[in-house]
Point group: none
Chain length 236, copies 2
């Protein structure tokens, strides 16, 4: 509780918005009310609201109040976040292939370097969706040495990145990506339950990690009809 006051107030408001206590389109307590409620000054109350605004939870309306905004339901995926962190609600994941040793694929949007190629790769493949609606087919490769344990265990909370972070202190520090629009081939069409030849968004990613020369390669095929892939940047 030695945390910053404005962060505390921010957290409280954010939770109440997410729980629907402050519904979409309604107004938050005014700045002066927040002051009385939490025993703080307007400067601090405003700072909490500034944060909420920056993250897209509210809009400030001069002379009226702070209104709760509808947050777009998109997949904020393209930076370094994994799917489960990006979507949060109602994510369903099915393993089509649990982690297994496999040779590297021949062609690749990004070429693994020699050292990586000289080792076997671990491969896994998942179908991910929102509820029953399949959204993306995800294929992943990475060099195996040191990660053999992953062939056995479950991912923590279903998150590959979270597992790497907690088990191996390995953090994602960046990524390179290539985006394409392709026609669904037979396999993709079947798994995403769309017509063969339907347009799918293909994202090839090379994740850069805190371990030098260790990368994770992902290839995503997304049905964007219902859930476009979303992305927000601020502050350069």
């Amino acid at each position: 509780m030695t945390d910053k006051l404005y962060k505390q107030v921010y957290q409280i408001l954010k939770s109440r918005i997410q729980e629907g206590i402050y519904g979409i389109g309604t107004y938050l307590p005014s700045e002066n009310e927040l002051c009385k409620m939490h025993g703080i000054t307007r400067t601090t109350a405003r700072r909490a609201l500034d944060e909420l605004q920056k993250e897209g939870f509210i809009v400030r309306e001069h002379g009226k109040g702070s209104r709760v905004k509808e947050r777009r339901q998109t997949l904020g995926l393209l930076t370094v976040k994994g799917f489960s962190e990006a979507v949060r609600e109602n994510v369903r994941t099915v393993f089509l292939q649990r982690p297994t040793l496999r040779a590297w694929p021949e062609s690749f949007a990004f070429s693994p370097d020699k050292k990586e190629r000289s080792r076997y790769s671990i491969y896994f493949e998942r179908l991910r969706g929102v509820g029953d609606f399949p959204v993306m087919l995800e294929c992943n490769w990475f060099a195996s040495p040191g990660f053999e344990e992953l062939l056995q265990i479950e991912f923590l909370e279903g998150s590959f990145f979270k597992t790497l972070s907690k088990k191996y202190q390995l953090e994602i520090t960046g990524s390179e990506q290539e985006l394409r629009a392709l026609q669904a081939d037979e396999k993709v069409a079947h798994l995403l339950k769309i017509g063969q030849g339907a347009p799918v968004l293909n994202i090839s990613i090379r994740f850069i990690t805190s371990r030098t020369n260790f990368h994770i390669y992902s290839c995503l095929h997304c049905n964007t009809e219902k859930y476009p892939i979303g992305n927000i940047y601020h502050r350069l």
Copy 2:
């Protein structure tokens, strides 16, 4: 003149950074010094510095000062760069529609807010390619007030963003994006010289700028067959 104090101080500091008076790596005057220099309080000085930080001109270093940063430009197309900066070589651009007043379109991936909608928009449309190969159809909208001059003049070095920066001191500070794979309609197919129904990558962007409540809306249709859209992030 009667403008907000923090904006004035911000402008002064920004100009001096851009002119090199405060060089990269050096420290700005401390907050207390700025107070004395401009006869303001620390709150106001800090607000000016907040803006500079948000736009990537400085970093604050606790216990040391506000250091002038080298502005990053390596974020690839999907963040804040325009096409011409991202591709560099052999870019051809053809105006299909020079900047012109036009009503806002009805449907939009991102909704302009009320104030923006209440004004007319300036619209322009370009076909961009590498050499003779058309790559992307680019449609752009933004609220008109104050930018009427753009209806007349040429863009500096063919870059819209560069023109906004130099003519209006307007910086791009972020963006929201939505990515979709679509089938080319008749117009897009014709312009990109691909078959009708061929998959195209659709990128809807809302650029956030240093002018509050002023956004630029872009809608891109890309043929990714030969040139996929690339993207690099580091250091998140």
